[in-house]
Symmetry: C2
Subunit: 210 residues, 2 copies
Amino acid sequence: MKKTSRPEIPRKAIYRLSIYLRCLQRLKANGIRTVASEALAAAAGVKSTQLRKDLTYFGQFGTRGLGYDVEQLGALISDVLGTTRLQPVILVGVGNLGSALLSYRGFQQEGFEIIAAFDQFPEKKRSRKFATPMLGMDKVEEFVRKHAVKMAVLTVPPEAAQEVVNTLIEIGITGILNFSTITLQVPEDVMVNNVNLAIELENLSYFVQQ
Amino acid sequence: MKKTSRPEIPRKAIYRLSIYLRCLQRLKANGIRTVASEALAAAAGVKSTQLRKDLTYFGQFGTRGLGYDVEQLGALISDVLGTTRLQPVILVGVGNLGSALLSYRGFQQEGFEIIAAFDQFPEKKRSRKFATPMLGMDKVEEFVRKHAVKMAVLTVPPEAAQEVVNTLIEIGITGILNFSTITLQVPEDVMVNNVNLAIELENLSYFVQQ
DNA sequence: AAATGTGAAGTTGTTCACAGCT
DNA sequence: AGCTGTGAACAACTTCACATTT
């Protein structure tokens, strides 16, 4: 029962596309106009065959005997990923980590803007002021519909996470970057990417104990 | 217990172990003493056969007809992951994101402590004060050797990342949680886990565009 | 009866080997 | 000659089916 629009492309290939894009941007900044799969793959930390295979999911973009046009391939990947235009994103849960992410400029640098933050207690005293407007959860539905927001960063406490996600899905959010420490239960047309810093450290811990 | 390196265990299985552990902790907090693979797997968002298969890499811990002892299985996983004792971690690069992570209490909650932060310019004015001691990069070697640190969180700018990593590896760091946006080149006995928030959003972006 | 543990089957993702352009 | 594009082989991971234990 597959229902997704592009089921045959491995999810990991999509991740790698982002990595290739970063490498291409760096090459472009260094004035390099053409790159072979071998060199680009090395920069991205993958095998060259994998890079070429990943690209074939979307078409043929190289010139045999020569390689890829840095700018053109970058534009293509950007188009595939849907990052040519700015995607509006909201953040939900302005606690410890949420605040940290709001003061982090890295999102903007890479083409995303958190256009609003939501919290159960928007009036609560916080140690910082943010440029991003902060609103109560009662405003989230109106805001999301008005701005056609599809993506949310979730930084609420674990007890609240599932309930908040249910709300978000109901009002039209289909992509969730989940920093909360529980596994979210969502319908299959909603995409969740989990980022759990403690789990990443725990995982390192396993490999470090030789 | 057993400490031999077991290369035949899928890396993804190790990740899932951490997820199971979180679920077990929640069950324990709710006073639940026994759990079947079906229920635990549902909470973790995986199939029950996968959970059972994952556990067999380490031994047999269940009771047929009954399930798993919540506390005992939790202790076992914790032991496998090497998180029964607190692992010391350093953070390198106290810029925007580094500062954010230093003020994030989530690591401590999950059993990790950032015992020191290092920066090229430790004296630079920052908007916050941190409880974590901040030192210059010239002090990192002495500190790492003295405290037998094996793990580092890397939050330096991309231009500096590879050079800093080379230094860290030289002085004995073997596990790196990399937030910098470049792909690090490391020897194969060093483990790198990459966390790139922009890439996670970019990935969602692909799936969100209907 | 209920639930685990596991070899075998199935599925997905990666790499090889080389044909095919430029 | 050099490098891409790709079917086929391979490897890794997941799921099934069911024997086994309590």
